[in-house]
Symmetry: C2
Subunit: 368 residues, 2 copies
């Protein structure tokens, strides 16, 4: 039994958020549902695929408390198709467990199932806690998660590392061929580390907004919890020791150049036209005092290109898998970037002109 009303826009937004944690098709049918509960002055919705769970609360005018589980796709479609008016949405569950949804002239009637077996979000007890702006977490994930490994051999590399030391946070993605590091200062006085699964990190990008509101992040040995003003997300964390990413780029620079990001991105992208998984080709950068010449050759053909740079150090020839360069350049916002090299067999490093807000490290391909 349940009887309540709430704002249509609040409800639509809450459904959109929690359904991101509902698996599309699963052998465990209870997970395809959305848990709903009318509590004192609030309506609660939960989606949980056991790897990631999302819970939302919205204000509600509750006449009779109650809870149930509804079919996620049906409930979500019905709510999204409600008339676009300012009318409130009435919801009622009768003694036969039928859910009635009413808004204006539109009336839906669905059966519900027992909510008893629905897995509620893990509690994340005894954890450490820190806070960050919503938009900042979103940006740091976006600029590192692309570099995460999709191969399961090294599970830790399929996740994004959150490494907090006092007031410095590093967020890191790495697949063994490249490392993407994003660094920021936050208000915090303790140390903590956790690895968020890459898949869930990508879902978080869709859930987190662009606001300056603080998100509370709590971590224990098994789970991490993100609490925004709109919802709670709990994700499993990946167990294991992450690689020592700070020592990867410790080589002495012998060559450094500044270049327009668009220019180098377009040149490498052009060369990549003739590189695919099968051809396993690389792109050769011939760096001299004023320009970089690009050379790429595969069974499909040849591509040459050239762009001007602002260089310091010794000329060098160095080769890369173009995919790693392209993905790094695409995930940077700056117009100009700085590339540093040590030898043709040590990693290249991409940084901002000033500081180390991001550090992208890319292994070269050895050439004869």
């Amino acid at each position: 039994m349940m009887k309540m009303k709430c704002n249509r826009r609040d409800l639509t937004e809450a459904v959109s958020l929690v359904e991101k944690a509902v698996p599309v098709a699963t052998p465990i049918s209870v997970l395809e549902g959305i848990f709903i509960e009318a509590k004192e002055n609030a309506f609660k919705l939960v989606g949980n695929n056991m790897d990631l769970g999302i819970e939302c609360f919205i204000p509600a005018d509750v006449e009779e408390k109650g809870l149930a589980m509804v079919r996620a796709s049906l409930f979500s479609q019905a709510i999204k198709k409600l008339p676009d008016t300012d009318d409130d949405v009435f919801m009622e569950i009768d003694e036969k467990d039928n859910l009635k949804i009413e808004c204006g002239h539109a009336k839906f009637n669905f059966s519900t199932s027992s909510a008893e077996e629905f897995p509620q979000l893990s509690q994340v007890l005894d954890g450490k806690t820190f806070e960050m702006k919503e938009s900042l977490i979103k940006n740091m994930i976006k600029q590192t998660v692309y570099a995460v490994s999709t191969r399961e051999e090294k599970p830790v590399l399929t996740g994004v590392l959150f490494d907090v030391e006092q007031n410095i946070i590093n967020v890191v993605g790495c697949d063994g061929f490249r490392v993407a590091i994003r660094k920021e200062e936050i208000e915090n006085s303790q140390n903590l580390k956790f690895i968020l699964p890459g898949k869930n990190a990508k879902e978080l990008l869709g859930i987190l907004g662009e606001t300056d509101q603080l998100v509370k992040i709590s971590v224990n040995d098994n789970n991490v919890k993100f609490v925004t003003d709109r919802c709670i997300m709990v994700s499993r964390i990946i167990d294991g020791e992450y690689l020592n990413y700070k020592s990867v780029a410790n080589h002495k620079n012998t060559l450094e150049f500044v270049v327009e990001r668009r220019k180098i991105l377009n040149s490498i992208d052009r060369a990549a036209t003739i590189v695919n998984e099968a051809s396993k080709s690389h792109v050769l950068l011939d760096i001299d005092e004023t320009s970089v010449s690009i050379d790429c050759e595969s069974v499909m053909g040849k591509v040459k290109d050239k762009f001007s740079i602002d260089m310091q150090g010794e000329p060098m020839q160095i080769a890369f898998n173009p995919k790693y360069l392209i993905e790094a350049f695409k995930n940077i916002d700056d117009d100009k970037i700085k590339l540093s090299f040590s030898t043709p067999v040590t990693p290249a490093v991409i940084r901002p002109l000033e500081g180390e807000k991001y550090v992208y490290i890319i292994l070269p391909v050895r050439i004869k």
Copy 2:
């Protein structure tokens, strides 16, 4: 051998057009290519999947004439990735049949193959010819092709009928359960009829622009040719007798109502939430003097809705497959539409408030 230069934007646009006729994967490898030819002052490109062929000409500065066939995907990617400058594109085929493409600092080098076996566009000789504005053909196809059948049992119904009688053209799509008719006046003095395959009609939507420029359409027993100022498209036509679409809506009206298109679309769409292929449910319209009540029931649940109308005639209950109503309403631009009914077992007709620019006829579902 070939040596020429042309404008980069012209070339990019031409490649985008002809590649729509290149099949993605085909057992006949020659069809995966684009035919290129440098002629007197012009560069010609052709894509042809034998069902639909597209040919473009662009102005070119030709030093040495020549022709070849290039791999469609490689050529198209290379052209689209050329530097975004005002520089001309140079193309040259050397004595080893390698194609060199140069624009600014970017240089591509691909092998080509013999163009001998490439199938040129059919000539469409001895055909009848008429002319129409580009944007009008596009609009008429868009508003009828959605109703075409996707089932191969009746091949004529998988195509869009073009029926020209003197200065009246009707474009018609029909799948046996609904008919979509678009009617316009054009300047023409002869009669002709042809059925354009639905698949090619959809490709034409992407090729035709929104301009008022005239397109010359020529038809013979096998093919139809559309000639715009930019290119030539030749499509196979479907053989067979089309149904007599003009007699389908000849019933006497007993009920007629005017309604806001958005209102009825949203109501029916809401009801369709609980209708899928498996449930085979229908939506029941209970039409009275001032409003339509919507009722829909399936194993998934129940939906009710209601909207106001401006009605003349006798009240009626009539049921439909919601999909046919929704697709018709979505393809109309008008804010208000007129629906006419005769009996609960004869087709309903959707028309503009004035005239018969479009006539959408939909068979009802028989209810007990």
